[in-house]
């Protein structure tokens, strides 16, 4: 059987250190392949042991004691032990840290290397998601010797070693013969960067790449499905795609206007038009595949008349002009055109302003200089963003904040589920933003290839189980 693989990715990572950048593209290459954390997140989204063989949690939920695997070596030959864990976690939460997800480590009070194979982490307060957090790419364990150079030459403990990066083109990793765990089937894997949907389609059709998880051109689905050479799967993601509304800015501070928008949106048309049918409508900020999900799509069903009435009640029957800032992905650009057309029917005239990610982060996310925008929030379980102070959509509801606070200190599953339900409901009722759909993940790969993830609880291309059938 073949032992090589060319896998298409849309975005090229800016560098390869997952602890120093937000880009999902980094994790898509190195997560689970090159770097490993104490825990890892599997295809179903549940937490699995990784470098930590097992752990115990103190009854007050504040102290986690991790038992580490022994005999683990970094790719440069240095040994992995508790000191590396302490170094990694301390580095990530240091004041001058450039870790993009510093929040993950915010609750950590101290990290202590008890012995080479034991680490004790003490939290400031109990945190339900701590083990999950430790499974993020931003929390992988790096060696002090190589931490500084990981950006160009990542050195981890994973089953693959970094080999080469032809910038702008591809990144190649090869099998790590000294891996501590189950050896992988592939000898070599190349991540080829193909940002352009048309080029991606051509590359897949011509066989240049044999797998393209998160394929960027849903319009090619029917064509690819009809071709026996390929296997096409539709998986879930953690991407809640929303029409973000600047809640602080009039007239959107008026719930009637937000409700009107909610009524005006025809989610199915957006999914059909922008995503060629790929995506699940959502009524609140929660992933439908999550056990705690409740279907709230009926809160404000598509109803133009109702929407117009609400606009009238808000005193805006003469219509308003707003801007709709759209980042580059097709869900935003295409979805934006459809939403603009739908909002036009209730008198909201959208000026479409396409922005690059850099501008979006600056103008929308940081300066909060926007009316409407479309974006997919791809972090898992991130409903808590609505409680963040000063978050870009400017939502402020003490009732909601209380639910989130409670969630943070609750570890009982049933209770958590209930709280999640409450939170979803509050957001839906308040029509905080226009909840559109959960981003689907269309994967295409060679029919003879097995072991790739269908779903993406986190953004990663875990190649540890990938193999050719002939």
């Amino acid at each position: 059987a073949r032992t090589d693989l060319v896998l298409g990715v849309v975005l090229e990572p800016p560098h390869l250190d997952p602890t120093a950048g937000a880009a999902a593209a980094i994790d898509e290459v190195v997560y689970a392949n090159v770097f490993e954390g104490l825990t890892r997140i599997d295809e179903t989204g549940s937490v699995q042991p990784a470098l930590a063989e097992s752990w115990t949690i103190s009854p007050d939920g504040k102290v986690y004691t991790f038992k580490l695997h022994t005999g683990v070596k970094f790719h440069d030959g240095s040994t992995f032990d508790a000191e590396d864990v302490k170094f990694s976690l301390d580095r990530a939460r240091a004041a001058d840290s450039t870790n993009a997800q510093k929040g993950l480590f915010a609750q950590i009070d101290t990290v202590e290397a008890v012995d080479p194979a034991t680490v004790k982490v003490t939290l400031k307060q109990p945190q339900g998601a701590f083990l999950y957090n430790m499974g993020w790419g931003d929390a992988v364990i790096v060696a002090p010797e190589s931490a500084a150079t990981n950006k160009e030459k990542p050195v981890g403990t994973g089953p693959f070693k970094f080999e080469n990066w032809a910038r702008g083109s591809s990144i190649t990793i090869v099998k790590n013969p000294d891996y501590w765990g189950t050896p992988v089937a592939l000898d070599k894997a190349e991540f080829r960067v193909i940002p352009d949907p048309a080029a991606a389609t051509a590359a897949v059709l011509s066989g240049d790449v044999q797998a393209f998880p998160f394929f960027p051109a849903p319009e090619a689905r029917a064509q690819l499905e009809a071709d026996p050479r390929f296997k096409v799967t539709i998986g879930t993601t953690e991407g809640e795609t929303i029409l973000s509304i600047n809640n602080k800015k009039p007239p959107f501070d008026n719930i009637k206007v937000r409700q009107a928008i909610a009524y005006a949106i025809d989610r199915q048309a957006i999914i059909d038009g922008a995503m060629f049918g790929l995506g699940t409508p959502i009524g609140s900020h929660f992933a439908p595949h999550n056990p705690a999900y409740i279907d709230l799509t009926g809160t404000y069903p598509h109803n133009v008349e109702k929407a117009k009435e609400l606009m009238k009640e808000a005193g805006l029957q003469d219509g308003i002009k707003v801007t709709l800032k759209l980042p580059p992905p097709p869900y935003a650009r295409r979805g934006g055109e459809i939403i603009a057309s739908q909002l036009r029917e209730i008198g909201i005239e959208c000026e479409i302003v396409p922005v690059e990610w850099a501008d979006w982060l600056q103008q929308v996310f940081k300066d909060k200089n926007f009316d409407l925008t479309i974006v997919s929030h791809t972090e898992p379980n991130d409903i808590d963003i609505y409680s963040r102070k000063d978050y870009y959509f400017g939502y402020d509801n003490p009732a909601f904040d209380k639910v989130i606070e409670e969630l943070n200190v609750t570890s009982d599953e049933a209770k958590r589920k209930e709280l999640y339900g409450q939170a979803q409901k509050i957001l839906a009722d308040d029509a905080v933003v226009g909840f559109l759909f959960e981003l689907a993940r269309m994967n295409v790969w060679d029919a003879k290839l097995e072991g790739l993830w269908v779903n993406a609880p986190i953004q990663a291309n875990d190649l540890t189980k990938v193999h050719w059938t002939e």
């Binding site: 352009d196 949907p197 048309a198 389609t201 059709l205 051109a217 319009e219 090619a220 029917a222 064509q223 048309a269 059909d272 038009g273 060629f276 580059p328 295409r334 934006g336 055109e337 459809i338 603009a340 057309s341 036009r344 479409i352 302003v353 396409p354 922005v355 690059e356 501008d359």
Partner: protein, 290 residues
């Protein structure tokens, strides 16, 4: 004792049209240009369908009686979009030429009239602008000011300036030593007056021909910019963006790429033919060779 060498076209307007209609390039080019311009003008008052109204359920329909050129991925009528897109392309290219001419021609004439160091400085400045790969600079300009038709116009317009400056200067420099200019100077006319009264009318043909060429290039440039997402923004349709959007659907809806592509090719072709025809008609040197 007739037909001495006339290095500059005669203003014989009375026989322009008969001659023009005997010129194949001109006739084809003119016809295409008129049709496109008419389609663009018509789109202001009427299009088969509303291009801002999306009927997602009608998406990707192949050409039919109801939609002559089919529909796009949002169910919009492609013929209507091409008509409105023509308006956009023409407007962008025209205004860009206006900018190029409006600044370039006076600069070129000034350089030619003054000569010396001013000429040198102006032309060096021109070289600087020329040295920037135009598309790259257009991308930078739109990156700064944001994408949109207006910025595309500015970006394309700026790069028309040196072109027109060069053409105007070359034409004017050839005219200045001519005897009729000397005669005008002997009549006490200053540089400005001579430029306005004698130079400009006599380089008008050159500029007209260059104008059609730049027009065609402007349409291509606008298409390229739109293609990389920096041209006119939705809901305003543009040919380049239509092509961009069609890219991924070539195998499922080839008509989406075919028609806007043809629209660009035909328009540019028409303008080039028109320019060719015009330069044949207006250049007496060529006329004599025929």
């Amino acid at each position: 004792m007739d037909t001495p060498v006339a290095p500059i076209a005669t203003p014989r307007t009375d026989d322009f049209w008969p001659r023009a209609f005997a010129n194949r390039s001109f006739v084809i080019g003119f016809a295409i240009t008129v049709i496109i311009a008419f389609a663009a003008a018509l789109s202001f008052v009427w299009t088969p369908y509303d291009v801002t109204h999306l009927v997602v359920s009608d998406k990707l329909k192949p050409p039919s009686a109801a939609h002559w050129f089919g529909t796009d991925h949002f169910g919009r009528d492609i013929l209507s979009m091409i008509m409105v897109g023509a308006r956009n392309s023409i407007a962008v290219a025209l205004v860009a030429i206006g900018i190029g001419m409006g600044i370039g021609v006076p600069l070129g004439c000034w350089a030619a009239a003054r000569g010396g160091w001013l000429d040198e400085v102006l032309m060096r400045f021109n070289d600087v602008v020329f040295a920037f790969p135009a598309l790259l600079s257009a991308i930078m300009i739109t990156a700064i000011f944001g994408p949109g038709a207006v910025n595309a116009i500015i970006a394309i317009g700026i790069f028309n300036i040196p072109v027109f400056a060069r053409v105007a200067r070359a034409g004017a420099i050839a005219l200045w030593p001519r005897e009729f200019i000397l005669a005008a100077r002997a009549a006490g006319k200053g540089r400005l007056l001579i430029t306005v009264e004698h130079i400009l009318p006599n380089i008008a043909n050159l500029l007209l021909v260059q104008g059609t060429i730049q027009f065609a290039l402007g349409i291509l440039a606008e298409a390229s910019l739109s293609y990389v997402g920096l041209g006119a923004q939705p809901p305003m349709p543009s040919w380049g963006r239509m092509l961009f959007e069609a890219q991924t659907m070539i195998s499922i809806a080839p008509h989406m790429a075919l028609f806007p592509g043809l629209a660009i090719v035909i328009t540019v072709l028409g303008l080039n033919l028109l320019g060719d025809g015009l330069s044949d008609l207006l250049d007496p040197k060529l006329r004599r060779q025929r």
